[in-house]
């Protein structure tokens, strides 16, 4: 405990690259973050910003080849994940770190019964017998509010709706009471009312089990009410990291400000077009030398194109990757 300062997960300068025909794609390029026990971290960014890859790296689930963790440290509860043997990693996966994926329609095996898929987790990790595992699976389904679980447990995924499948995924992920739950866009494929239910469910179970959570999303609205701190990713890099409240109140990066402006505001006047950040995410195989966001940035100056921006510390917990971080920070909040 003492040597990790209460950190459950420490990621230091992680780089995960993919070898493709167009060259090396630096999907994750030098990111660092820490997660304390019981904390919830939000990772936000557009598609292709590297949020999923960084978390798959933590679980060592990067398909290799073409992918490879090139450098960096991943310390989980003091264990150097990169140094573990395959078997040791397997003992962590699903037991101490569990993951929920984006698309519940395709993330469950269509050929196997729900019960089988739930049972195998506790059978491997907790040494359950079939009967124990079955009872445990039932209990987990009850916990995630599947109605009439005795009847549904022997069904197949196609007999469940999208929201129900995501509940099953959550039940599966939490079967062994993991210390860390990584939820990779858990609500993206679901409609809005179901989204709220699923988020409530994760929130409730987190409190009940004391699980740390990493919530990956491209929707700032989702992380706002759930997380303690937020990392904003862009082009494989961390653009801003700050406690949730501070990030929403006083963002110090033009990209974060853009994202915040893009969140639909129900109180917004009717008929006005929704704000969007101009342009497209950059091609991470061919990044320019300067700031990767420069050509989409409304605050960009000549230096942004030329020089890679520094990671500026605003205060103890607030950092921003921008040449003008301090100015942006100072100017925000009043809006």
């Amino acid at each position: 405990m003492s040597e990790n300062n209460g950190n459950l997960l420490t990621v230091n300068d992680l780089r995960t690259y993919f070898q493709t025909e167009d060259g090396v794609v630096k999907a994750v390029d030098g990111i660092s973050f820490e997660l304390k026990k019981g904390e919830t971290l939000g990772i936000v960014g557009e598609s292709g910003s590297g949020k999923s890859v960084s978390n798959l790296s933590v679980m060592r689930l990067i398909p290799e080849p073409p992918g490879k963790i090139v450098s960096g440290d991943i310390l989980f509860d003091g264990i150097d994940v990169r140094r573990l043997s395959d078997e040791e990693v397997r003992n962590i996966r699903g037991k101490r770190i569990a993951m929920i994926f984006q698309d519940p329609m395709t993330s469950l095996n269509p050929f196997l019964k729900i019960s089988t898929q739930l049972m195998e987790v506790t059978q491997i990790h907790l040494g359950h017998s079939r009967e124990q595992a079955y009872d445990h699976a039932l209990e987990m389904l009850r916990k995630v509010n599947i109605p009439a679980p005795e009847k549904r447990i022997d069904g197949y995924p196609h007999e469940f709706s999208g929201g129900m499948r995501q509940r099953v995924m959550i039940a599966m992920a939490l079967s062994c009471e993991p210390e860390l739950l990584i939820a990779d866009e858990p609500t993206t494929a679901l409609d809005v009312t179901i989204q709220a239910q699923i988020l409530e469910l994760i929130k409730g179970l987190r409190t009940e089990l004391g699980t740390s959570v990493i919530l990956i999303t491209h929707d700032l609205g989702v992380v706002a009410g759930m997380t303690d701190k937020i990392i904003v990713m862009y082009a494989g890099k961390i653009f801003e990291s700050a406690p949730t409240k501070e990030l929403f109140a006083k963002p110090a990066n033009p990209y974060t400000k853009g994202l915040l402006k893009s969140v639909p505001d129900p109180a917004h006047e009717h008929g006005e077009p929704l704000y969007q950040i101009p342009g497209l995410p950059p091609d991470v195989a061919n990044l320019p030398p300067g700031c990767p966001f420069a050509e989409r940035c409304d605050r960009a100056e000549e230096i942004c194109e030329r020089e890679f921006p520094p990671f500026v510390q605003i205060n103890e917990n607030h950092h921003s990757l921008c040449h003008f971080a301090k100015e942006v920070h100072a100017s925000s909040g009043g809006e």
């Binding site: 689930l61 996966r93 994926f101 050929f111």
Partner: protein
């Protein structure tokens, strides 16, 4: 499920009759007949033959009689093999083809699945390239070339295996290999493609994220989805293997159904042709039905009504 099977079994009857009808028309449309030789027969004798076999009747009477016989599953006697019923001939020769076909089927499945799965798991490895090159070769070398080549090598040069005919297990090796080669190649390629597709899917990532061993991920989670394309191929494959493959039986002088079939066509032995055609068409339809039923066991999303 039961209703589905029953329905499919019932459909076999009209389908088989249709196939027989088309065959009958084709035989009648083709010039020549079973008694024609290079010398033309005296008209009186021809009259007699026609009378004896009912060929002097109008075509619809002949067709009706034929259909009536078939519905009673009585195909009559062969015209060429005097005194032998078509049913007897099929019963005598089919076992050769069936044994040969079944063994070839099992061999092809074994080799094909193994090679395909390993190639998919070790994609771009030496095994992958090697087995897929071999599969390409297996697909492109026709069995009338492969058979004689094997005979040349193993019988004429090495004296290891008997070159032809039906005998002990040793006699079976070369025909079975010749027969299985193309199917094994096809199954290997289908398996590889199917497995590669499945191994990339989200639910395999989920299985890995659960901490399952790679062998378990493969056998419990990936295999079922991966071999579905193979299953749809193996139905028709089984049927055509069981039905006897003409070429291989010819090359190795095996008295199977395929050999007899060719002979019956050359002889214009109408009852025998129709009998074999009916038998084979039923066999193929039953094999396809078995495949469709096995889909249901493999993939729970498929429901029959």
């Amino acid at each position: 499920m039961l209703k589905f099977i029953l329905k499919r079994l019932l459909i076999i009857v009209p389908m088989a009759l249709l196939v027989v009808t088309v065959t009958w028309v084709l035989i009648r449309v083709a010039p020549g007949n079973f008694y024609s030789t290079e010398r033309s027969l005296p008209p009186a004798i021809e009259e007699n033959i026609k009378k004896k076999y009912g060929l002097d009747q109008p075509w619809y009477i002949q067709y009706g009689t034929m259909m009536g016989n078939i519905l009673r599953l009585d195909f009559g006697d062969s015209l060429k093999y005097q005194g032998q019923s078509v049913n007897e001939i099929i019963a005598r020769h089919f076992p050769y083809s069936a044994i040969l076909g079944l063994l070839a089927y099992l061999l092809a499945l074994g080799i094909g699945l193994f090679a395909g799965i390993v190639a998919a798991l070790k994609q771009n490895s030496a095994f992958d390239y090697g087995s897929m090159a071999a599969a390409m070769l297996g697909l492109s070398v026709p069995n009338f070339v492969l058979g004689p080549l094997l005979v040349l090598l193993f019988s004429l040069y090495l004296y290891w295996l008997p070159p032809a005919r039906w005998g002990g297990p040793l006699y079976l090796i070369m025909p079975v290999v010749t027969l299985a080669a193309i199917y094994a190649a096809y199954i290997a390629r289908l398996t590889r493609a199917g497995m590669l597709e499945v191994m990339r899917s989200d639910y395999i990532r989920t299985a890995r994220a659960k901490g399952l061993k790679e062998s378990k991920v493969l056998l419990k989670h990936a295999l079922r989805g991966g071999i579905i394309p193979v299953v749809s191929f193996t139905g028709p494959a089984l049927a055509s293997l069981l039905a006897g493959t003409v070429v291989v039986e010819k090359v190795f002088a095996i008295p199977g159904l395929g050999n007899i079939f060719i002979q019956s066509v050359l002889n214009r032995d109408e009852p025998l042709i129709l009998g074999i055609v009916a038998f084979l068409s039923i066999l193929i339809m039953v094999a396809n039905l078995i495949v469709d039923i096995s889909y249901g066991f493999l993939d729970p999303r498929i429901r029959y009504e």
